[in-house]
């Protein structure tokens, strides 16, 4: 059923919420500045609630079933996180309150910084960046600030493996760097020879995702970071796939200088239909002075009776603010709760089971789907969604057919170095039963691809809408159901 838009549901005169009449004398409205019309819909509360509940039912979600989007870490979001973030003491605090009224929030932020330092083996953390890509921009600006602070102005390039997320080159370009793409070798690692050849005095740094987007651990990571350091460059770690390394290996120990974390992937804060995320940036002690700020620090040490006094400090040579206020505090509460409930052993179990689940699926599927880089994977793996003897069937068709089997499809067409890529990340919170059903479905679909390809090409069959005309959407560009012209026509 097509759900009408809010504007279509509107009936003049309906109200969803009423507000009290002013308890103060009214003042004259500012002449010449008052708008003539406010073209917003008019609905009763029940209209609004039903509309959004109906819309919600058109979504697939982690709380409904397996959501194996590669590199997105769609793990289960514990419900206690939601309650914690909504505690009035947290949710109703204004960001600019005097610090002695918000010691609870500041303590939480300080402790989260410390926990993230310990988990990643880094020297300092800023919680300000709002998402992974935002963390990347922050990190690359730190690379730039570091070299500039040393008067080293000839470094103009950032090296990025061809398997990297598109955000890596985009963040580098935004920071004024030229991007040099590095090839991957046959095992899916960074091609060491190519790296050595590219490393010279013009290299500002390397952006490396480990495990990479093929789900493979960078086997030569210690060598890679050493080569870059010897050339005078810094190594940036894209923490998108950190879930596989919790308690297994720390980026700080592997030679990373800067790292962003995705609290919405690794630390279970919900993805919210596309955000908000949270992308704290961790750096070595040397780079701490360049972090965006202000960051939370202890202003006065505490004692056994008195807790410390927390406050803000701007790092000495900070790249500046990357966001208003202090970052996505609500997400920090959730991630902090998650870490508290796991401890060191629990976090290691998270990584172990994420990797166990991915390898189990890989083992069940590798005889049916071609795996171009086939070795023990980490939290995810990439299969080819195409067979030479089933022409005309593509990764997209497999993805859509999976919907008929009641699963969310994996990421497709990424990474770019695998043709017709299906990038599958089950996460640790899925049971063997769920994984088996998913593997059975993919195996059945592979069979269908050879015997009844039409079933795949016409999928999905039971969703509120079928495949959508993306060409029409891009050509006609209907981005809004209300236009200023309509107002003038009506007037």
């Amino acid at each position: 059923m097509t759900e009408p838009t809010l504007f279509e549901l509107s009936s003049p005169g309906r109200r969803g919420v009423r507000f009290p009449e002013p308890d103060v004398p009214k003042s004259a409205l500012p002449e010449g500045f008052v708008r003539k019309d406010l073209p917003l819909p008019e609905l009763a509360e029940v209209d609004v609630v039903r509309h959004f509940v109906r819309l919600s039912q058109k979504n697939y979600a982690v709380d409904y079933g397996l959501y194996p989007l590669g590199s997105c870490t769609m793990k289960y979001n514990p419900k206690i996180n939601e309650d914690a973030a909504r505690l009035p003491g947290f949710a109703l605090a204004h960001p600019l309150q005097p610090i002695d009224t918000v010691q609870g929030s500041l303590a939480l932020m300080y402790e989260l910084q410390e926990l993230l330092k310990e988990i990643t083996g880094m020297g300092a953390v800023s919680l300000q960046p709002a998402a992974g890509a935002h963390g990347e921009l922050t990190g690359v600006l730190i690379i730039r600030a570091y070299h500039q602070s040393r008067g080293d102005t000839k470094r103009t390039k950032i090296l990025i493996p061809d398997s990297a997320h598109g955000t890596n080159p985009a963040s580098s370009a935004m920071s004024g760097y030229e991007v040099v793409q590095l090839p991957s070798d046959k095992r899916g690692n960074v091609d060491l020879e190519a790296l050595k050849a590219a490393c010279d005095e013009t290299v500002a740094g390397l952006m490396l995702t480990n495990p990479n987007t093929l789900g493979l651990f960078e086997e030569n990571v210690l060598e890679v970071t050493r080569v870059v350091h010897e050339a005078g460059g810094l190594v940036y770690g894209d923490g998108a796939n950190l879930n596989a390394l919790l308690g297994i290996a720390r980026p700080g120990d592997m030679g990373f200088d800067i790292l962003h974390l995705n609290l919405h992937k690794t630390f279970s804060t919900p993805h919210g239909g596309g955000g908000p995320g949270s992308g704290p940036v961790a750096v070595t002690e040397t780079l701490a002075e360049f972090l965006p700020g202000p960051i939370v620090t202890i202003l006065e040490e505490g004692s056994e009776e008195v807790p410390p006094l927390y406050g803000f400090k701007m790092p000495n040579r900070s790249i500046g603010r990357v966001k208003a206020f202090h970052g996505h505090f609500g997400m920090m509460v959730r991630a902090y709760t998650y870490i508290l409930m796991h401890g060191a052993e629990g976090l290691r179990k998270v990584a172990e089971h994420a990797v166990l689940n991915a390898n189990y699926l890989l083992a069940r599927l590798r005889h049916v789907y071609h795996i171009p880089y086939d070795r023990i994977c980490k939290h995810e793996f990439v299969a080819e969604g195409i067979w030479d003897d089933a022409p005309g069937v593509h990764a997209l068709d497999i993805a859509k057919r999976l919907i008929d089997y009641d699963f969310h499809p994996p990421t497709n067409y990424f990474p770019l170095i695998v043709r017709e890529a299906l990038m599958i990340e089950p996460t640790e919170t899925e049971s063997k039963q769920t994984l088996d059903k998913f593997a059975d479905a993919l195996i059945k679909i592979a069979e269908e691809a050879h015997t009844q390809p039409e079933l795949l090409k016409s999928a999905p069959h039971h969703t509120p809408v079928g495949r959508l005309d993306e060409v029409k959407a891009a050509k006609e560009l209907v981005l809004c159901c209300w236009f200023p012209e309509k107002e003038s026509q009506a007037a």
């Binding site: 067409y413 993306e470 060409v471 959407a473 891009a474 050509k475």
Partner: protein, 130 residues
């Protein structure tokens, strides 16, 4: 795959038609079929601009890909096919005809020698199919 024999080709899938000292430039049938339905076209240079061989002169977008169109030769832009910014579908329907993009007055006609002829380009396309 349509590959007219009277044109020159680049490794980035542009074609060139030479008329005297003028190079007429567009993208090949192979390029448009790889991109599928074009949903947007935009010039990156103005008439009168000097372009260098390999420099970006326009961008094309389909729903799943974006591609830069590069100058096959160096020179001065003397004409643009303005109709393309509205009717970008022409790139799909008539890549060698109505979808010509730019005319460049060549500053270094020797650059033409670095381009492929139809036979070489055909082979080049076939190689990439596998």
């Amino acid at each position: 795959m349509n590959i007219p024999s009277d044109l020159k080709y680049t490794t980035t899938d542009e074609w060139v038609k030479v008329e005297g000292n003028t190079a007429i430039v567009g993208v090949t049938d192979y390029a448009q079929s790889q991109l599928s339905d074009i949903v947007f076209f935009e010039f990156q240079v103005e008439i009168g601009d000097e372009v260098k061989k390999g420099g970006v002169i326009a961008t094309l977008e389909s729903v799943k890909a974006a591609a830069d169109v590069n100058a096959p030769v160096s020179g001065k832009v003397i004409a643009r096919n303005e109709s393309l910014t509205e009717k970008f579908e022409l790139v799909n329907s008539d890549p060698y005809g109505e979808a010509w993009m730019l005319k460049i007055e060549m500053s270094n006609p020797q650059e033409l020698d670095t381009l492929m002829d139809a036979t070489a380009y055909q082979k080049y396309c076939e190689e990439r199919e596998h």
